[in-house]
């Protein structure tokens, strides 16, 4: 297996390349272990895809990075998740600050039932930006970055719920970008979208990966192969706990998998 099980010294993890580093991570929902002995590095300004069958803990894993799992009662995390060398599970971590830095796009587009403008301005407003001109600049910049500006620039005051599914998802991406995060987590962002909207999101991801570290959970093998730089393959063990089987450059994982289970999954022999 191509998994690095050694715990490096702190200095080594402060690396230009590695943005997030997960070490010996175990996660439990009450008595049930959902993730087991995960050790993995997420490189900076690249797209890392998490693939694997349903129920193997991909979303749970993704939600580690902005501590979204905290919302579920009975969750216990052991191990280290370092963002820029700081363990985000340290007791004195400000979760609100962390989530500003690590944005998240969800499986189902979830724009708020407000205007397009208010959706994008939501984050900055909560963080104290009140100046109208400043907010207008942020909204325009974010919508342009999310490749949605041309479609909505003349109807910013209209309800976001009137947009199509693909537009709504790009709006959600704009909403995340407006807070100027450094890492963007995407939990199956295209699963509710048609193929054309999906391709638009993938193009957008490629564009964003120049400046952002992106981690994406996907069920879609072609999407992982097409759009990601790195791939991590998850499986569940007999007690249903998720484990990392293999990770590395996407090309390598897809063309020359080291583990039989990865090969079986990618070639569609199960899952």
């Amino acid at each position: 297996m191509n998994v690095n099980l050694e715990i490096p010294e702190k200095k080594e993890t402060i690396n230009d390349e590695v943005r997030i580093s997960v070490r010996d991570l175990n996660l439990y929902y009450g008595d049930f272990q959902a993730l087991r002995n995960m050790t993995l590095d997420i490189p900076e300004n690249a797209i890392t895809a998490i693939i694997g069958p349903s129920g193997c803990g991909k979303s749970t894993f993704l939600r580690l990075f902005n501590r979204m799992n905290d919302l579920i009662t009975g969750v216990r995390v052991e191990g280290i998740v370092e963002l820029d060398g700081v363990n985000i599970y340290d007791r004195d971590i400000d979760v609100v600050e962390l989530r500003k830095k690590v944005g998240m796009v969800f499986q189902k587009p979830n724009p708020f039932p407000m205007s397009i403008f208010e959706n994008v301005a939501f984050g900055p407003k909560r963080h104290g930006r009140k100046n109208r001109v400043e907010l207008e600049d942020i909204v325009e910049k974010s919508l342009k970055q999310a490749a949605l500006w041309d479609e909505v620039s003349d109807k910013l005051g209209q309800s976001a719920l009137a947009l199509s599914g693909g537009q709504q998802q790009r709006l959600c991406i704009a909403r995340v970008l407006a807070v100027e995060p450094e890492v963007i987590l995407m939990d199956e962002p295209c699963s509710a979208l048609d193929p054309i909207a999906t391709l638009r999101i993938e193009d957008l991801m490629r564009e964003l990966s120049k400046n952002y570290t992106i981690v994406i959970v996907t069920h879609n093998m072609q999407q992982a192969a097409r759009a990601s730089d790195m791939s991590a393959f998850f499986m569940m063990e007999e007690d249903r706990a998720g484990v990392l089987v293999e990770w590395g450059a996407t090309e390598k994982v897809f063309t020359n998998p080291q583990d039989k289970r990865t090969e079986d999954y990618i070639t569609g022999r199960f899952g």
Partner: protein
């Protein structure tokens, strides 16, 4: 060419017939009550009836102080019951852990609605009138009715907040909003129509209550409107009760007239609740 009905189809049709029959039986009394009150009471409704104080124990004059008294009561009730209800609803839905204490509190609140209203009246008499020395007053009556209305405002607020989908909370938290900001800017605006609907229904319920206010401050006759919250007051349901039961030689039309005004007040609040709900829905999906 008609085929004979299969047993399956016969049972379908029988079921359908019974269901629609039951519905008709349910609706008829409502329509009859409203029709009877309108037919009998419409004759009493004049400008004078609505704007003059009663004279000769209600046989002449109007019911103006009772109408105003009822509006004051509704206002007093909701001023107390809505903020408390919403705050408690937020706590119970967003912050309280799911343990036996929370479950007990929830059950107690639901059961509050089942407490007979005269029991609230006696509670108000003991606590607000006597213990707090508010006397027989609008204040004591409003607080008493507010206690009763709390069951509804807490429950509807909690349900409306719980009905806000998790995706919205997560979307807000994921851009670094605090929990309080998420509640304030995402959850409450979406729960608002449900909360307001509950509040308006609680007000209409308060407008119709007779038993509790009987013992905490409603008066049969007052020369003028209450000047302060510590004054006694007239109210429509109590006025209806006395003119119907305790004034000999009362004109039937007047009695029906009072009932009609009370019905209009109560029903108009129910209609208002519906309008608020519909408008909120339309605004949500509007462009």
């Amino acid at each position: 060419m008609k085929k004979p009905l299969a047993p399956r189809q016969i049972s379908q049709r029988t079921a359908f017939t019974f269901l629609i029959l039951a519905t008709i039986i349910v609706v008829i009394p409502v329509i009859v009550i409203i029709a009877v009150i309108i037919v009998n009471g419409a004759g009493a409704i004049t400008w004078e009836f609505l704007t003059q104080p009663p004279m000769q124990a209600g046989k002449a004059g109007g019911i103006f102080p009772a109408i105003i008294g009822t509006f004051y009561l509704m206002l007093g009730t909701i001023v107390v019951a809505l903020p408390l209800g919403v705050l408690a609803g937020i706590y119970l839905s967003e912050y309280a852990r799911d343990n036996w204490l929370t479950r007990t509190v929830n059950m107690a609140i639901v059961n509050l609605a089942g407490v007979p209203s005269i029991v609230y009246g006696l509670f108000g008499l003991g606590v607000f009138v006597l213990m707090f020395h508010f006397g027989m007053s609008l204040l004591a009556a409003s607080l008493t009715l507010a206690c009763q209305a709390l069951a509804m405002t807490v429950t509807t607020s909690r349900e409306a907040i719980l009905a806000v989908p998790r995706e919205y909370r997560e979307g807000s938290l994921a851009v670094g909003a605090t929990k309080l900001q998420t509640i304030r800017y995402v959850v409450l605006p979406q729960a608002r129509p449900g909360i307001i609907t509950g509040a308006v229904l609680a007000m209409s319920r308060a407008a119709g209550e007779t038993a509790p206010i009987l013992v905490v401050g409603a008066a049969f006759f007052l020369p003028g409107l209450p000047q302060s919250p510590l004054d006694q007051f007239m109210a429509l349901p109590y006025h209806l009760y006395t003119v119907a039961a305790h004034v000999p030689g009362m004109s039937k039309t007047t009695i029906w007239g009072v009932a009609l005004v009370l019905l209009v007040v109560v029903l108009s609040f129910n209609v208002l609740a519906t309008i608020i709900r519909l408008r909120a829905r339309r605004r949500r999906y509007g462009t």
